[in-house]
């Protein structure tokens, strides 16, 4: 049963899942002003792209995509540590996580 269920899942389902993840992340990034939430949203966009890559890899029976995702995840982990560190620093400066507090560069 599970197999048939799996069989009925086509490439489009996976791509749709990836796209939904990506769009949710994107909307979150644009609408939220909390730095940590915005950061989490970018992570979500990442995962959307990763799902698409894995799906394509499986579909074409080519391992390159999956290998690439492993690498991306590794680097994303490192990047997450760095980004959170930055967020902490920014918070210390202004005692707020509001992204609007950092808009001095406006023209």
């Amino acid at each position: 049963m599970p197999l048939t269920t799996m069989d009925s899942l086509t490439l489009s389902h996976f791509l749709l899942t990836g796209a939904v993840l990506f769009c949710l992340g994107l909307i979150g990034f644009i609408t939220r002003r909390n730095l940590i939430i915005m950061f989490l949203c970018t992570e979500m966009m990442f995962q959307g792209v990763a799902v698409s890559l894995v799906a394509f890899s499986r579909y074409h029976l080519n391992d390159t995509g999956q290998t690439f995702v492993i690498f991306v995840l590794t680097i994303a982990a490192a990047e997450a540590a760095l980004a959170l560190g930055l967020v902490v620093l920014l918070f210390r400066r202004k005692r707020t996580l509001d992204a609007l507090a950092w808009s001095q560069l406006q023209g």
Partner: protein
């Protein structure tokens, strides 16, 4: 002593200047600057004495002592080299000898000044530039020294930079000198173009060759002397560029003595004497020099009559004496010009420094009307200045008497006899009248200051109170109590009156002792006027002779032997005539000097009320003379104001046209920025949205194209 040592002479004062500069850094080191500077001038003097015999023996190419190659561009080669002949040695004696005496005096005079080290740095630097000027073996190096002394003059006049008049005087001196120096620079360019060299030895040799060969002067030959002359008139304060020198008295008195009386201002005379063959090539050049000199001597002599400022009197007197030197050089007597330069250095330095002592004693008081009968208060200064005045007035057997007489006799020789020129006769008479004026104004000053009833008003410079260092000086040296109740006091012997005594000895004896030496020195240098065939030399000297020249030449062509004989005869006659004129002039000028002194004694010592009465009667004349013929006002109206007007016009052009254009160009990016600036909101969400929309648009386009 080895002749090589002479190369060190300019560099020792430069080192001294650097050390004085170091002394500026810490107040505790300042005191060292005076001795360092004096020593850095005195050592070159010792070197000058030491190498004198070796230097006078040099011949031909040995005279050029090259230190290193300075500028080499293609065929144009300028060396940092020194031309050592006997004229150089004379000038070195004056610059380093008088310079070390004045520096020693200044050690006392400037004591306690805040800028003590800065002052001595200027003095040492000046001596570096001045020795470079007189030792240069080429015109470019000479120009370097020339500008160097100008710079030091500017720095030293502006020494009291808090005083607006000192700053204005410094700027005036610098700017007026620029006019002259422009002429000088152009003269050097034209010299290089004409003679193909800037080396003094080559230029003078070539000019002398052209003279003796009866070379027909080209336009360049005629113009070079006039351009060089302009430089000399600027530096040596002659009409029309003399106006800076009287104002330059705003500097400290030792500077007036060293830079503006004894050495720098004589650079013009030195330059013309050095290049005399070049000047001889142009028939009108030397008469012009003589005329300017004679007229300047007379005019500034009359101005000196009615000045009340002690230093101004001597300043105008300096201008007047420089006029004499130019008259001498212009009358082809470079000996007379340089001799007067030499003696003048002694007595005018002495006069300025004694005036400085009076000023020092009276706390900066310089007004003749505010002092009288100081002989008991300052006996030494009184008699030292008396000696200086005698020499300046040309009292028989003093230094000024011999040199002035040489000049007047030379002018008279040119002005009388078969080839006599009325111009020179007139100039000689003018010179005699100026000699009378000189004697009168000199002793007017001396009698006013030292004779008559004792009376004085102190000036407002409390040199004992204002600055801490000077306080001790007042007590130690003269022991008068407290900072109040200032009385005029005599200067201490060391370091002030002793150098003055040396100068006084020079002022008395320099003429008598050094006359023959000086004549031989000039004979053995490039300053010796080129003796062309007799008749031609006159032709070269003055245009007025030219008609006679033609006549004589026509006669001479008759029989050659007869002509030669006649020439030899006339040479003997000429010599005899010169001698007679010399003797006559000696008597005449002695009488004139004595009359001048006697009249000054009557009017300014014995019968002052009468003088005041006469002065009130001729108030208009006195007014004009007191205001220096309104020359400054005239220059201001004719030159300075129109130039300022032009400057304002150019300023407006610059502001609106040039600046407007540039600003317009600058406004374009600013405008563009103003248009797109609102898109930069500084909000991350905005950028994010922009990016998403951008990607969406691109994706849409790609999608449309792809399918």
């Amino acid at each position: 002593m080895s002749i090589e040592l002479i190369k060190l002479i300019p560099w020792i004062p430069l080192l001294g200047a650097a050390l004085c500069g170091v002394c500026c850094m810490k107040p505790a080191w300042r005191k060292a600057a005076g001795p360092i500077s004096a020593l850095s001038i005195f050592i070159p003097f010792l070197i000058t004495c030491g190498v004198y015999s070796a230097a006078s023996g040099l011949t031909g190419a040995e005279k050029v002592q090259t230190v290193y190659s300075w500028i080499g561009v293609g065929g144009f080669q300028v060396n940092m080299g020194y031309f050592v002949d006997r004229l150089t040695m004379v000038m070195l004696f004056v610059v380093t000898g008088i310079g070390s005496l004045i520096a020693t005096y200044a050690m006392g005079y400037m004591k306690g000044e805040r800028g003590y080290a800065r002052f001595f740095m200027g003095v040492s630097l000046f001596i570096f530039a001045m020795t470079t000027l007189v030792m240069a073996d080429n015109l470019v190096l000479l120009y370097l020294g020339w500008e160097g002394v100008g710079l030091c003059s500017y720095l030293l006049i502006g020494y009291y930079y808090e005083k607006p008049e000192a700053v204005a005087a410094a700027k005036k001196a610098f700017i007026v000198n620029r006019i002259g120096d422009l002429g000088f620079a152009l003269g050097i360019f034209l010299t290089y173009k004409t003679y193909g060299s800037v080396s003094l030895a080559e230029v003078t040799t070539e000019a002398a060759k052209r003279l003796t060969e009866g070379f027909d002067p080209t336009a360049a030959d005629l113009w070079i002397p006039f351009l060089l002359m302009l430089g000399a008139f600027g530096k040596s304060a002659q009409i029309p560029l003399y106006v800076w020198l009287p104002d330059a008295m705003a500097g400290p008195t030792p500077v007036s003595a060293l830079v503006h009386a004894a050495t720098m201002v004589t650079a013009g005379v030195y330059m013309i004497a050095r290049l005399i063959p070049v000047f001889q090539l142009s028939p009108a050049a030397l008469p012009t020099v003589a005329t300017i000199g004679g007229v300047t001597a007379l005019l500034s002599g009359t101005i000196a009559l009615c000045q009340y400022d002690l230093k101004k009197v001597f300043a105008y007197s300096t201008v007047s004496q420089l006029g004499y030197m130019f008259l001498g050089v212009g009358a082809l007597s470079t000996f007379g010009g340089v001799f007067h330069l030499f003696t003048h250095a002694f007595f005018k330095a002495l006069l300025f420094l004694t005036a400085g002592s009076v000023m020092h004693a009276l706390a900066g008081q310089l007004d003749l009307r505010a002092m009288s009968g100081l002989r008991h208060k300052m006996p030494v200064t009184c008699w030292l200045m008396f000696v200086g005045c005698l020499a300046l007035a040309g009292f028989p057997l003093t230094a000024g008497f011999f040199s002035k007489d040489t000049i007047l006799a030379a002018a008279m020789t040119q002005g009388t006899g078969p080839h006599g020129s009325t111009l020179f006769l007139f100039l000689a008479l003018m010179g005699l009248f100026t000699a009378f004026l000189t004697a009168f104004y000199t002793f007017r000053l001396w009698f006013r200051v030292f004779m008559g009833p004792e009376h004085f008003e102190m000036g407002d410079e409390h040199h004992g109170d204002d600055h801490g260092d000077a306080h001790g000086h007042g007590h130690d040296d003269h022991g008068h109590s407290g900072g109040h109740a200032h009385e005029p006091h005599e200067m201490p012997w060391w370091p002030m009156n002793a150098p003055l005594a040396a100068l006084a000895i020079g002022a008395v004896l320099a003429g008598l002792v050094f006359g023959g030496w000086m004549e031989r020195s000039i004979e053995g240098s490039t300053a010796k006027p080129v003796a062309v065939a007799h008749v031609e030399s006159h032709a070269a000297a003055a245009p007025a002779y030219q008609i006679i020249t033609v006549e004589n030449a026509a006669e001479g062509h008759g029989t050659e032997a007869g002509a030669e004989h006649a020439a030899a005869d006339s040479h003997d006659d000429e010599h005899h005539r010169e001698h007679t004129i010399h003797i006559v002039m000696m008597f005449v000028s002695s009488i004139i000097a004595l009359v001048g002194i006697a009249l000054a004694a009557y009017f300014h010592w014995l019968n002052r009320p009468l003088t005041d009465k006469i002065a009130t009667k001729f108030a208009a004349v006195v007014e004009v003379l007191y205001n220096k013929y309104y020359v400054d006002e005239f220059y201001d109206m004719v030159i300075v104001k129109p130039l300022r007007g032009f400057g304002h016009l150019f300023y407006l052009f610059d502001q609106f046209i040039i600046n407007g254009l540039v600003m317009t160009v600058g406004h374009i990016p600013r405008l563009a920025g103003w248009v797109v600036r609102p898109t930069q909101s500084g909000k991350m969400q905005g950028y994010g949205l922009g990016m998403v929309l951008g990607v969406a648009v691109v994706a849409l386009l790609v999608f449309r194209w792809a399918f």
